[in-house]
Symmetry: C2
Subunit: 182 residues, 2 copies
Amino acid sequence: MLTPKEIEDAQASALRMLQQAGIFITPAERMTIEVADLGLGELAKTGLEIVVYVNTERYCAKELVMFPRQTCPEHRHPAVEGQPGKMETFRCRWGRVWLYVPGEPVSQAKGRPPSGSEAYYTVFHEIELNPGDQYTIPPNTLHWFQADDEGAIVSEFSSTSHDESDIFTDPRIRRIPEVPEP
Amino acid sequence: MLTPKEIEDAQASALRMLQQAGIFITPAERMTIEVADLGLGELAKTGLEIVVYVNTERYCAKELVMFPRQTCPEHRHPAVEGQPGKMETFRCRWGRVWLYVPGEPVSQAKGRPPSGSEAYYTVFHEIELNPGDQYTIPPNTLHWFQADDEGAIVSEFSSTSHDESDIFTDPRIRRIPEVPEP
């Protein structure tokens, strides 16, 4: 589990990257940047920093901040409450990100599964997103993505987010932090 | 109807504003910036410039570029095909915009209905949006908005857009340009 200090540091780094990219967030939003280590305890390698702008019953918009070489691990969004799984459009705003989906694998992937977790990365069709590039992922489709050596900021436009329903390939992952009993 | 030259000039101005705000759009997107004068032929006063990032059957995301004091006139999004009307979240990215919705009117509105069209502006509850501020408009709710003297850029996150169904208070407005017979 991340310590309060680790969360604060990651929020401060994410804020600096957003500012560098000319993306304004309010003081209230700064306090609520989600730092998701997904339970693996290796945030620099696996996880991401998230500003949720809006998540209604009809649509969702977020800013995803990724540190250099940070990876959002392989997962999919299944159907929830009779609705098709989450559909999402990633639009690169700053930096560069490699996105992997099912399909013809590249021979030399530019993204690298985090060391020790290689077994949990199974799709290798590579899509490179530079600022202004975007890609839409259909519901229930496996995907993972990694920022390049400078990090990246990606806008996510999507149907409603139900993060707690995400299915990760790596069974060790916990999308929602487990809060210890008081 | 706008001339090709007027459209090109407005696209170039919108692109400069996006660049100034650090928002990248691709060369292909530059060619397709929508310049909407809404049929009134007074683009500098009434209309807006739109980059549609994505519009699926589940969600939509756009960048709205507004020239100094340009106004998106009063309208609402009714139910379409059995679905509730469009719900939308405006997030100011650059500049300043005043948004008007039903409710307690301000005594001195900072936005000014375009001269000659005052009769078609009926809601005056004012919401000021500076960079990082956002506001969500429920379905079928009258609203209009105006940029300040420097212009503004606003991200719109929403349910699916059906622009052709928008209902404007001003009966002279045509949301979709009428194409002359060849």
